[in-house]
């Protein structure tokens, strides 16, 4: 590969990675805004009800319990989003490191779930029975998975199901992503996907039949099962 082509490749990967990072953080920030909005309005409701006490409208224990419960539930929801975002952000700490395959798939699909919900599509995930540790790039792997899911969501309709299945292979981990086929056109390769798979030293297979489209990624670097 010439120096120019190598630079161009690196530039494409950088831009794609930035876009990916932006898409995930934008989605999570939207969810967190919803959580904060609910907590904010609940605090406001408490203020409104307390103001009513001055005018002879007492506040019941039941009302207070419901308000406390709502705040607690939303805080828990917010903490879960933040933990997921934190895990995602730290996946970019090092270009190559050890990671647990199922956990990474689980975190990324949970972060992407909102995009599926917005389309009325169900995202289902199947994991391996045992933990699967790999040494590779967790960030680039998530990026590849995200590109495929995003591409399939763009082709999906309400009530469709996209299934993500994780399995162990001799030399690494495999992820199969399957969605209903919408037309007879050949499924395309999302932009930069091949570059990502190359950077992961992995392989990619794309297949389809009249019923479904299937993307299969194999990521090498198995540490132990």
């Amino acid at each position: 590969m010439t120096a120019d082509k190598s630079d161009e490749r690196e530039q494409k990967l950088r831009e794609s990675s930035l876009a990916f990072f932006g898409a995930i953080t934008a989605s999570v920030s939207h969810e967190l805004n919803n959580v904060i909005s609910i907590i904010d309005q609940t605090a406001g409701l408490l203020g409104d009800l307390l103001a009513g006490v001055k005018y002879g409208r007492p506040l019941s224990e039941e009302q207070l319990e419901r308000i406390a419960e709502k705040v607690k539930n939303q805080t828990g929801r917010g903490v879960r989003f933040i933990k997921r975002l934190n895990t995602f952000a730290h996946s970019a700490d090092e270009p190559v490191r050890e990671f647990e395959f199922n956990q990474l798939v689980e975190n990324l699909t949970a972060l992407t779930d909102r995009l599926a919900v917005l389309k009325g599509v169900s995202l289902q995930v199947r994991y391996t029975d045992q933990p699967l540790k790999l040494v590779n790039s967790p960030f680039l792997f998530q990026q590849a998975l995200f590109l495929i899911i995003k591409n399939l969501l763009a082709r999906s309709e309400k009530n469709d199901t996209i299934t993500v299945s994780v399995s162990v292979q001799d030399n690494g981990g495999k992820v199969e992503i399957v969605a209903p086929a919408k037309d007879s056109a050949e499924p395309e390769y999302p932009e930069n996907l091949e570059l990502l798979i190359e950077s992961l030293e992995g392989s990619l297979k794309v297949g389809s039949d009249p019923e479904k489209i299937c993307y299969e990624i194999l990521i090498p670097g198995i540490k132990y099962q």
């Binding site: 609910i38 904010d40 609940t42 409701l45």
Partner: protein, 143 residues
């Protein structure tokens, strides 16, 4: 003035519940809808002084819901709810016929003021239509 009748459209159940409760304390009569489809069904059956519409909703998003609501009644007073950094979406919604927008988490005082303004506008539009009808009848009778 009579209590303003408001339709609150948001897919977040908890947000819908707490905001509608607050709006009732603040003197409004509130119906709710969980999605665009439900909003359209309710708007066809009842005249609302204002519709508070979340832009980010699953399946039929806020913009599509806005367009369809205005097809039912072009004078509907729709106030859109936007997230942070989506103020541009609010402005675009106004170009498409929304009368105002407010950023989540919505300050109740600001929201209440916008609803009251919408109610006044609806009343003026109703009075104008009534005047037109009366003038029309009088013209036909040669008065």
């Amino acid at each position: 003035m009579a209590k303003a009748i408001v339709l609150l459209v948001d897919d977040e159940k908890e947000f819908r519940e707490v905001l509608s409760q607050r709006m009732e304390i603040w003197g409004f009569q509130v119906d709710t809808a969980a999605d665009g489809k439900e909003a359209l069904e309710k708007a066809k059956k009842k005249t609302y002084d204002a519709i508070i519409l979340d832009l980010a909703m699953p399946e039929m998003d806020g913009i599509e819901t806005l367009q369809r609501l205005l097809e039912i009644k072009s004078e509907l007073q729709v106030i859109v709810l936007t997230g942070h950094a989506t103020i541009e979406d609010g402005v675009n919604a106004m170009k498409m016929g929304a009368v105002d927008f407010i950023e989540k988490p919505a300050e109740i005082e600001k929201l209440a003021a916008k609803i009251k303004e919408a109610q006044i506008r609806m009343l003026k539009l109703f009075e104008e239509k009534l005047d037109e009808k009366i003038s029309d009848i009088m013209r036909k009778k040669g008065w």
